[in-house]
Amino acid sequence: MVEKLMGLPRSRTVVHPGPFRPVRIDRMRDQKGRHFRLSLPGGRTLHESLVQALADEGVASASMTLIGGELAELGFCLALPDPTGRVLATYGAPHTVQGACFIFGNATLGSSASGTPVVHCHGAFRTADGAVRGGHILTDRTVVGRRSVTAVVTALDSFELRVVYDDETRMPLMRPQARRIHG
């Protein structure tokens, strides 16, 4: 029997500048996530509030959903093809808008190789002129306004999320790693 199939496009693939890494899914598991709800206050950056509130709870790695709120200032950038060809896609120049309504987003908290907290965040927002846009949110350049932003957090305690240099893409990327021994 011949089945008639809806024609789906074969997805386009890309060639990164570095060597193919055979591991395609880096994964780690925790027996139980710890959950938190945060209310991120006005006048402070998303980065500062998230990092500090979670550090106070002993959380260094987490995955979260950001819900609503008002942004007095919003910093974001878009992913674009790299004109130099050094990497495949890169972030364009930072954009700043004043006064935006945050719709929702997702963020990951991890740390750099030296242990500095890193927040990777994508989100959707509505600007003052009513345009709805989205992209890579620069959390250290985004200041919460009069209405707080809510974060629903799943903390990952038994392993760490760390930004490491990825040879294949030539970019620093978040990966799960075994916990470092502290102290």
Partner: protein
Amino acid sequence: MAEMRMIESGRMGRVAYARIAPNEDLVSSVEKLCLAEGFGHAFVRGALGSLVDACLERADGSCQVIRGPAAEIVSLAGEVRSQPDGSLRAALTGVVADTHGHLYGGPFVAGANAVCVTFEVTLEEWLPSPGNN
């Protein structure tokens, strides 16, 4: 037609985080992550990353292609369900931004959404109560 069960009780179990590499398919990678971790059912708790091009299903079954690279996944919700034959099916739906920041939304078509640079996903295992069946 089988009677549809409105409610399923249960609890959340383990949590898994993964980084999916370039050119891997979004939907099948989430299924593979569950297979690798032994999760029968799971909910997506957080996800962000980029696609070469995004492919979303329209109401008539055709595809809406949002050209990248890279199309950014701005937000994603979804679940993985174990099927009667033991296979796993991920149903993922979300919002993507094109290279101008314009937004599009809908269900991600399985097999048609290749990761561009990276995709980060956190899954929570869903453990239905035995009394459901």
